[in-house]
């Protein structure tokens, strides 16, 4: 019985071991060596890379990345919550097509979709062009190559994850508890604050962690929409490997990022598990 199960797990385990666990281990180990003179690796043990990672210069990049990612989370929530609520309130047969529409952007390449934002946001782009034609502005708005553009790109790219996570939480809730709250005299705002919001926290947590993790490590969007002026954690790691050719330091940064993601994902999983067991007990 157990050996049978192991056999079934074997391909998956082998895949994960070969392509995830071993590379992660390598990256971790790499962080403890020195950089070679010509960009190679000098196999002398050191903790200097970790000390360097907390240097104000790099810590600043880390904080900036976290701020951008958090902003993306907040806007994804503000857009995703009403959208998910609206989908969950539709008749059952209309929900699936709407969810497929939400997923539709994934059918095309992330890079291409990000390029498309340049067309929309640049000085002569669609938005500035339209606003100028309408006479709303005389000078084009600085929409591209700044934090606004980066956040816009990230929110655009990852809001579907937020909607899906929230949808699964909201649709599970059903309309009955909100009705009970209304029946007891609460208006819709208080029903939202006291009933719907607390009970959909698992969905909020899941969606937020997804968007945060995907955003903080992203290097395509800051590159294209930030115009390369601002460096995020993803760009920094990219540069260490490909430009500075400092693999050990790049590996250290990559390891720290993965560790942060793991911590967040674990917290979120524990949170979801806790509310799920509570729900089971309820049913």
């Amino acid at each position: 019985m157990t050996s049978n199960r192991l056999l079934l797990l074997a391909p998956g385990l082998a895949w994960l071991t070969a392509l995830l666990i071993i590379p992660c281990g390598l990256i971790f180990v790499l962080g403890f060596f020195e950089r070679g003179v010509y960009g190679g690796i000098d196999y002398t043990l050191t903790t200097e890379n970790f000390a360097r990672a907390v240097d104000p210069l790099y810590a600043g990049i880390f904080l900036y990345s976290a701020r951008i990612a958090l902003t993306a989370v907040v806007f994804s929530l503000l857009i995703g919550y009403p959208a998910a609520t609206c989908i969950a309130k539709q008749p059952k047969r209309r929900q699936m097509p709407l969810l497929i529409l939400v997923m539709m952007p994934f059918w095309s390449n992330y890079l291409i979709r990000t390029y498309a934002w340049i067309v929309l946001l640049n000085r002569e782009g669609l938005i500035n062009g339209a606003l100028t034609k309408l006479g709303a502005i005389s000078e084009p708005l600085p929409l591209l190559y700044n934090d606004f553009a980066i956040v816009t790109g990230l929110v655009y790219g990852y809001v579907p994850f937020m909607i899906l996570a929230l949808y699964s939480s909201i649709s599970k809730l059903g309309p009955e508890l909100a009705e009970a709250s209304t029946d007891l005299g609460a208006d819709s705002w208080r029903t939202f604050l006291r009933i719907t919001l607390p009970l959909t926290l698992p969905g909020i947590a899941a969606g937020s962690v997804f968007v945060f993790v995907l955003s903080i490590g992203n290097f395509v969007t800051p590159d294209l929409l930030g115009g390369g002026k601002r460096t995020m954690l993803g760009n920094l790691i990219y540069d260490q490997f490909l430009t500075a050719r400092d693999w050990p330091f790049g590996a250290t940064l990559a390891f720290l990022l993965v560790a942060l993601m793991m911590v967040l994902l674990t917290c979120q999983a524990v949170f979801v598990h806790r509310s799920a067991t509570q729900e089971e007990a309820r049913a």
């Binding site: 508890l177 009705e179 009970a180 209304t182 005299g185 609460a186 009933i195 509570q278 729900e279 309820r282």
Partner: protein, 353 residues
């Protein structure tokens, strides 16, 4: 006595389904009123219309003389106890019960006192700090009741309040509900599909069928004087004979002329059903004038009563009789035994609808 709740010509359709199809009824203050009917007849829809979660296509709903048809649910002095209880899972029992009072702006000691009183009323004072998922079905039901009662509504709507409970607990809670209703003086409008429950608890019953009121009256009226075959069939057990009104009786093929009550109300020749309650069938082991010979085809022992299934001699028509276990014949009713059965004319009702 003026009515507390008046429903006039209320109708509600979902697409092509007429869930509620023109209902008139009135509930008096302090009344225990039951809505009874088969699954899908529109009971829940009617409650949701009264609570304000659905808006009627036509008709008006009045409470204490004021038209509340357009009033939103949170502004109606009516509370609904949901079929699934709908307790807030993230709140303790205390917080669940306090919720409605907080919405009225009540705080502090006054709030605490009201909640504790309500929990005392349903005997849950010692469970105040628990979460709903730590409670049994019967306890959840009482929390839901306390949560609705604590608001002191003018009218409490209860959707199958005992539906999820086992038989023993149900019977206990039926008495509980009746006690609570009398102690609080709040009018109760209870939905049930269990006719026995309606008969034991309610002051009056409206039996619904396909979104319409089939009959409205006291439990005794519905049981003793059903006005249609549907009512006679739904409330309690009933024997039916199909035939025609003829001469001095009711003609049934294979049985001849049977005696019946209120014969004059039905015109000669009209097709109708003759309805006789099983407990009104008299069994005897000697032939008597007007009695039919029958053979026992089976029996079911029900504790106090014995239910006997018979086949009438000649026609083979089925007949069910119910006799007390203490009856002289009850001891030796067995399959194949010949008996004679009869009933008094006043216990045989002619139903045309």
């Amino acid at each position: 006595m003026s009515a507390l709740l008046e429903i006039a010509g209320v109708a509600k359709s979902f697409g092509t389904i007429r869930a509620v199809d023109g209902i008139d009824l009135a509930v008096a203050p302090n009344e225990f009123f039951a809505l009874l009917g088969p699954s899908g007849c529109g009971k829940t829809t009617l409650l949701r219309l009264i609570a304000g979660f659905e808006h009627p296509d036509r008709g008006t709903i009045r409470l204490d003389g004021a038209d509340i048809t357009a009033t939103p649910p949170n502004k109606r002095p009516i509370n609904l106890m949901f079929q699934s209880y709908a307790l807030f899972p993230h709140m303790t029992v205390f917080a669940n019960v306090a919720y409605g009072l907080e919405m009225e702006g009540l705080r502090g000691a006054a709030l605490k006192a009201r909640v504790e009183q309500a929990l005392g009323l349903v005997q849950l004072s010692d469970q105040a700090s628990r979460k709903p998922h730590q409670l049994s079905g019967g306890q959840k039901q009482r929390v839901a009741l306390a949560r609705a009662l604590v608001k002191r509504p003018k009218l409490l709507l209860l959707d199958e309040p005992l539906g999820a409970l086992d038989k023993k607990l149900r019977e206990k809670m039926q008495i509980e509900l009746k006690r609570l209703q009398q102690e609080t003086g709040i009018a109760f409008l209870v939905v049930t599909h269990d006719q026995e429950e309606a008969l034991t608890m309610a002051d009056r019953i409206a039996l619904l069928d396909h979104g319409k009121v089939a009959q409205l009256g006291r439990p005794r009226d519905l049981y003793e004087r059903p006005e249609s075959r549907f009512v006679a069939d739904f409330v309690g057990q009933m024997n039916f004979f199909e035939g025609h009104r003829r001469g001095s009786g009711f003609a049934v093929a294979g049985l001849g002329l049977l005696p019946a009550q209120d014969l004059d109300a039905v015109p000669e020749g009209t097709a109708a059903s003759l309805a006789v309650r099983p407990e009104r069938v008299v069994l005897s082991d000697t032939a008597q004038p007007g009695a039919f010979a029958a053979e026992v085809v089976g029996s079911a022992y029900m504790g106090q009563d014995l239910v006997v299934h018979l086949a009438l001699a000649g026609s083979g028509l089925p007949l069910v009789a119910r006799l007390p276990a203490s009856h002289r014949l009850a001891a030796d009713i067995e399959r194949g035994r010949q008996v004679h059965c009869s009933w008094a004319a006043e216990h045989a009702r002619l139903l045309v609808k």
